[in-house]
């Protein structure tokens, strides 16, 4: 274990190990599933304009500030933001603002580790052939080919609430029977929109609805069974989820593996995992990209991976909002999606970057190293992430169905829609297992980065040994994740607060503290210390003036969408701020999060009092 003589803090063993560990922090499931879904739903290629503006004007400067702050704090014995904030702004409030830098990664760890266990669980499912089969529904590749030609075979219509007569009347004359209207409403087509659809659009909507109902639904139900949302008999589980033993055991395995890596330390555990895992992740991702891009036209001459890339990358300058066409760059929701994606993908505003950077030495470079991890993340997201899930789905299911799938969210795309795609590929079982293993590597390296701040806090501020700190983390982590495992909506409530709301707020605190209170010139000098590239001065001004404005826009518009608009529409009491209703499971989770925050704040208070007492003795 590499240690210095200053407080016994560890250091990274090698620079490439640090870059890979930090890239592992940033690269997660979202790179491969969230980004393509967001891009597809928000203008395709046109989405890249707000995306890259947010990256250059906000994310890169903020990332550099977090790296510089982390090294500054680490050199002075603080690996987490309460201590760092206090060093930079010796006000009694500052350390409490810094509590967010432990709270956010800890809460994300609580639910994200459970999601990480799903990926390895699904990889095992693929190897052991536990998932449903499309062909068990009597559907073959020929049926998909017929569907791509606009023909609806008996096998595709069997068991659906619509009859062939409904289909013919709908396609040829545009007459929608009550059964057809209800069938289409289930995929979000409003009844008043139906008469305005062209023949081509009618075929596309019907194809999408049939793919969803006949091909993807069994896999979506398998996913819900895996997570305990529905029972083995197919009944809704209610507020207490009926989690299968396999799901639970796999989570325990991931939990114990994570503890083992964490207990081995920064260089001996986390760095080693990154050195093995990240190259493997890139190799697997490149293999998947090559496989997808060489699929050819297995279902129809008009459908191939290139159509998938076109679907993702062709700029769509107008998006539909509430039945109206809106220019994509004038739509605040597109900007919010782009800024949110950039934030989420680079793990900004969480306290995790500062913690990893705190294990640098005083003269170690942060400018080039930070930019390298950003570039690795962007490469994994824009080049690799955009070239797997969406092109594969389009090749087998067509544009309309893929559009519908992408709009249903990250886990629907990855866990419900891709397994049937693998079924139609040669060596699909192996490819499916590798795909979920790839997602597992992406997730487990992020789990380490999320766990480390709490461990570092206990080591630095309480003087705990590594083993004692990891054991304390385990004592908080394991019971907390049980809320996500067993309480309906709990995971989404945690994700809403720790994954969506608090990071931009915390980032705003950071920028104000670093650029305006501590001093922009001081933190910029800190960034340039030991730097192997000299960041343009433009980024300094961007960090000081533009990034806070972008963050204010995000927080303001987010508050409008999630709080003010639901209150004005009178829906706030039914759906709750988090969109998960206001049932007791939501309240238990909310109260738990409040208690956790207060608990951490008290720990910070006690630690600082102890240190102050020791210093004055």
């Amino acid at each position: 274990m590499a240690q210095n003589g200053n407080g016994g803090r560890e250091h990274w063993g090698t620079r490439i190990g640090l870059v890979l560990a930090m890239a592992g922090n940033a690269i997660g499931i979202g790179n491969f599933l969230r980004f393509p879904g967001q891009a597809a739903a928000n203008g395709g290629g046109a989405f890249l304009i707000p995306y890259f503006i947010a990256l250059i004007f906000m994310a890169i400067p903020l990332m550099w500030l977090e790296w510089a702050q982390g090294r500054y704090g680490g050199v002075r014995g603080h690996g987490t933001t309460p201590g760092m904030f206090h060093l930079m702004w010796p006000h009694r409030l500052s350390k409490y603002l810094g509590v967010l830098g432990i709270f956010i990664p800890l809460v994300i760890l609580i639910y994200y580790s459970y999601l990480a266990s799903w990926t390895i669980g699904y990889s095992i499912y693929m190897v052991t052939d536990q998932l449903p089969k499309v062909q068990q529904q009597g559907i073959t590749k020929e049926d998909l080919s017929a569907l791509a030609r606009g023909e609806f075979s008996e096998q595709l219509l069997a068991g659906l609430p619509i009859q062939r007569a409904d289909v013919e009347a709908f396609i040829e004359q545009g007459n929608s029977s009550p059964a057809m209207t209800a069938f289409l409403e289930a995929i979000g087509v409003k009844s008043e929109q139906i008469p305005q659809l062209s023949r081509e659009q009618r075929v596309e909507k019907l194809e999408a609805a049939i793919i969803k109902e006949k091909v993807v639904k069994p896999f979506d139900e398998a996913r819900k069974r895996y997570a305990g949302g529905i029972t083995a008999e197919g009944q809704p589980a209610g507020e207490i989820l009926q989690v299968p033993t396999f799901t639970y055991v796999v989570f325990l395995g991931v939990f114990l593996f994570s503890l083992w890596v964490l207990a081995r330390g920064v260089s001996g555990g986390i760095e080693l995992l990154a050195k093995v895992g990240m190259p493997l992740l890139f190799v697997l991702a490149v293999m998947m990209v090559i496989r997808v891009l060489t699929l050819g036209h297995p279902v129809s001459e008009s459908l191939g991976p290139l159509n998938g890339l076109a679907f993702l990358w062709e700029p769509k300058w107008y998006v539909e909002r509430d039945g109206k066409e809106v220019f994509v760059l004038q739509d605040p929701k597109v900007w919010l999606a782009a800024v949110g994606q950039v934030f989420f993908t680079l793990s900004l505003g969480m306290g995790a970057i500062q913690c990893y950077a705190s294990y640098l030495r005083e003269k170690d470079d942060v400018a080039l190293t930070g930019l390298s991890t950003t570039s690795a993340n962007e490469f994994a997201e824009v080049v690799l992430g955009g070239s797997i899930a969406i092109p594969a789905a389009v090749t087998f299911f067509g544009i309309g169905a893929t559009q519908l799938i992408a709009s249903q969210g990250t886990f629907y795309l990855g866990f419900a829609s891709l397994p049937p795609v693998f079924e139609f590929m040669p060596l699909g079982q192996v490819l499916g297992a590798l795909w979920f293993f790839l997602l597992f590597i992406a997730a487990i390296t992020s789990v380490m980065a999320l766990a480390q701040p709490f461990v570092a806090f206990l080591e630095d501020e309480y003087g705990f040994s590594r083993g004692k700190a990891v054991a304390t983390l385990a004592a908080v982590w394991l019971p907390s994740t049980h809320l996500c495992i067993f309480l309906s909506g709990s995971l989404d409530v945690m994700d809403f607060w720790a994954g969506t709301f608090f990071p931009p707020l915390f980032a705003l605190f950071e920028i104000i503290l670093l650029m305006w209170i501590f001093g922009g010139e001081k933190i910029w000098s800190e960034l340039l210390q030991g730097a192997q590239i000299r960041p343009w001065r433009f980024f300094y001004y961007s960090a000081k003036y533009i990034a806070p404005l972008i963050l204010l826009f995000v927080l303001g518009f987010w508050t409008w969408l999630n709080v003010i608009e639901p209150i004005l529409q009178g829906t706030a009491l039914q759906q709750g701020v988090e969109g998960q209703g206001v049932g007791w499971t939501v309240w238990v989770t909310r109260l738990y999060l409040i208690a956790l925050f207060i608990g951490l704040a008290l720990m910070v208070r006690v630690a600082f009092k102890r240190k102050f007492r020791e210093a004055t003795l």
Binding site: G45, L48, E314, L368, L371, S375, E378, F379, V383, Q532
Partner: protein, 36 residues
């Protein structure tokens, strides 16, 4: 894919790809401390 689709996709790939190659070449093959 239309011309604009190709332009958007290849520009994005070129931007992040060249940044990735540049950074990792500098990390792996050295370079001196430039800050003075």
């Amino acid at each position: 894919m239309s011309m604009s689709g190709w332009i958007f996709m290849l520009s994005a790939w070129l931007f992040v790809g060249s940044l990735f190659v540049y950074c990792f070449a500098r990390i792996l093959f050295g370079g001196n401390n430039l800050a003075k």
